[in-house]
Point group: C2
Chain length 474, copies 2
């Protein structure tokens, strides 16, 4: 496509989105009125209502196949719109239609389920629970696909388009992996587009290229068979609390790196390009520290704060207990000590392999006279990462750039989510198309979304389907 053709296509998409914006906002407001809180059993019917509402809306949008998929918990919505080009690539869009609880209610400026539009110098802002996380970002795909058809004159999308919108994301996606396994044939695809994240800032559109994985568990140390008197015996037997402290202190080296043997084996290093692109983000450490409720940054030597949370694996103690915890004193050498530990993982690491390495390391560092065991909470979450030069990621970058008219940069997520299941079960790369802002108030009172950014999201989606049709199967 020539520059001129690209520009004219950009304008055509923008015009189409603009024409559909009114209907889109009206529909989003309607959907946001449904309090689809998956974490509260009292709202289970609302989550079902939300699924029905979305299914109807996707049918009205033109998806020829729309199904509500039941799970042992709350339902997901599946929709499919094949391309008239049988050789077109297949895309699965992921989002969720359930929302977080709203306590404490008194902290909300506008009632969470009475969506309220407020004008600002940056355009209209829509206040409601779920506006950004994730109903607004699911629904912009209906506007996006309509604009895609209108701007291209097509009657079906340029890609085989599928949507999977789950209903239990805010409850930890307890049945999602099983659903993916069960429906993997229906969900088969070439790329997964996740619309459940945000971007750096209003002026800095970004896409996420990966999320850290996770494995966590509980470590138990046992010394004396019961608590013993620290006067009579203290100084002559090993104290499980001291030994636990030594183990946890030994988890890291002086330079902040994790000391478990082989922990970094296979870790994909950051490329110079990635570091340079991270470095272009308008990062303000004071703002980051305020969000971290912390006064000082600290971590693995040789890495910036963003690199530490996005691209480096960690070992963290999440909880710790043992011995006497009451008021005043009880001078004992206690029988037991416990810690909850978690490991964030990056591309090249595997949670089960890390569990084995943690066990091997514990066997080496826990001294004689102390019994230990470690219980991991399940198989963990694999990290996911899409390389910068992956065609699907390049396509997302171009789509966002066309929508925003500016350079697109890259972020990652330090946390761990169901995206890894999508990647692993569907055996497809995951890319991220999200337009929420860091101050949108996810999981907090006064959640809101910027309507102009949702429209940019729709534009980007419209571009993306055309681009992926060209770039994935050139």
């Amino acid at each position: 496509m020539t520059d001129r053709a690209a520009t004219s296509s950009t304008q055509a998409v923008r015009d189409a989105v603009s024409r559909g914006a009114g209907r889109f906002v009206d529909e989003l407001v309607e959907w946001l009125r449904i309090p689809s809180i998956s974490g509260d059993p009292d709202n289970a019917e609302d989550v079902r209502l939300s699924a029905q509402w979305l299914a109807q809306n996707l049918q009205d949008t033109g998806f020829p196949t729309v199904e509500v998929w039941e799970t042992p918990g709350l339902p997901a919505v599946f929709a499919q719109w094949p391309s008239d080009d049988p050789d077109a690539p297949t895309v699965v869009v992921y989002g969720h239609h359930d929302v977080q609880p709203v306590t404490p209610l008194e902290s909300w400026e506008h009632p969470p389920f009475e969506p309220t539009v407020v004008s600002t110098p940056h355009g209209d802002r829509l206040h409601a629970r779920g506006a950004a996380d994730d109903k607004g970002q699911v629904l912009f795909h209906t506007l996006g696909v309509r604009a895609h058809l209108e701007a291209t004159g097509r009657t079906s999308p340029a890609v085989h388009l599928k949507l999977i919108v789950e209903g239990e994301e805010e409850s930890g996606s307890p049945h999602f992996a099983a659903l993916l396994q069960e429906r993997r044939d229906r969900l088969a695809c070439d790329v997964v587009v996740v619309s459940d994240t945000g971007m750096w800032s209003r002026d800095t559109p970004t896409t996420c290229t990966g999320m850290r994985g996770l494995t966590d568990g509980q470590l138990n140390l046992r010394g004396p068979r019961g608590d013993i008197h620290s006067g009579s015996f203290g100084g002559a037997v090993r104290n499980p609390l001291t030994e636990l402290s030594r183990v946890l202190a030994a988890l890291h080296r002086e330079d902040g790196s994790v000391a478990i043997d082989g922990f970094y084996d296979g870790v994909l290093p950051l490329t110079d390009t990635e570091r340079a692109l991270f470095g272009k983000l308008p990062y303000d450490e004071a703002i980051w520290l305020a969000n971290a409720k912390s006064s000082t940054a600290y971590g693995e030597a040789g890495f910036s704060t963003l690199e530490r949370v996005w691209a480096r694996p960690t070992a963290e103690v999440n909880g710790l207990w043992g011995g006497y915890l009451g008021a005043g004193h009880k001078t004992i050498v206690p029988a037991e000590a416990h810690a909850k530990v978690s490991f964030r993982l990056v591309a090249g690491q595997d949670p089960l392999d890390i569990q084995a390495k943690v066990r091997d390391w514990l066997a080496r560092v826990v001294p004689q006279g102390i019994d230990w065991d470690v219980e991991f909470y399940g198989p963990g979450v694999r990290p996911c990462l899409t390389p910068l030069d992956h065609p699907a990621l390049e396509a997302v970058t171009r789509a966002l750039s066309a929508a925003f008219g500016t350079e697109v940069l890259y972020t990652r997520e330090g946390g761990s989510g169901p995206e890894a299941d999508l990647q692993d079960v569907l055996e497809a790369p995951v890319v991220f198309l999200g337009v929420s802002l860091p101050d949108d108030g996810w999981h907090a009172p006064n959640e809101k979304v910027e309507i102009p950014l949702l429209l940019k999201g729709a534009e980007a989606a419209a571009h993306l389907w055309s681009d992926l049709a060209r770039s994935l199967h050139p």
Copy 2:
């Protein structure tokens, strides 16, 4: 005194004790029927009754002055029997008349307050709560002083004899230090004889030469102002649980010694003689480990287990907590971490000085970005130690040797008790005259005492008053 005179005196004391044994046991049984549990408010009247009973018994024994001393809690008993030699040294005997609770009652073979005599190959054994700790060991002093008078033909003891028998020892002696301060003039003395400990074994009479001191408190570390998400922030801020672990791991060096700067300043080293005498004790590490409910001994390099618990200072973690302690997982970097720590101290160390050194050390080892404070539980307990060549200790050694007819060895106590208050407030050396056995079941169900050993205690006391009169003011 010639050897022959000594032998004849030994026999005279033994005969006198033997003649008084029946009355002594009858009276002890009567006293043991009173359930003087200081820790249970329901038994407060019993503790008062016990004080009255003892006061009456001491009057009947011949003490010209007997007083019940009230405290804000439960009463102590004071008795005084001046020597007819105004230049005689003054001795204070310390014991207590309250007892431990008796739960679980179903574990007792004989009802705890229905004293039961059982014959054994080693002689009669008296089963009851308080038989060994401490009523039996208080009451043998009445038999001891009667035997002392009878065997020497005196009408008053060879020393100015005072008894202070407190009623709240099993509740932590909350009012004892204040009572000592208030009554220090009445309690003025040259030496304190504590009869509230035991000896090594039936065949190895010993006396205790010291007890460790103690200071303990709570250490608090604070990182983020609230719990933060370990995915979003983990790896880029200091984790208070990790930092607490590092601090507690740094408390000890590789060789098991305490790493706090200056911690060992002034510590009185064990002499070769003391180590040799400890070495003569028939010590069985398997038995010690069984009592310690432990499989392996461990401690400061270069010291035996007994040296470690008796003669070396320690740092112990008694409790530890922070972060998420519930079921399952919550992947946070927590805001706070807490530990209860205690330090056992030996002669040459001062609790307040150690508190200052702990603070200085914490200021050095806790890193930037972590706030900390430490709150000590009061001024602590000073260690006490009587040198082996102290005349009072030599007198106790001779008295026990005369009673048991064998060599007397030395022990110490790893714990910390009101003995330090006696030493500090009365400014007098403390020696220990106790005949309980390690298996007497202190604080446990089925407490018992060996009647033949109580009689040996009475013999030793009878000898001690004559000996101290000669050796303290020669």
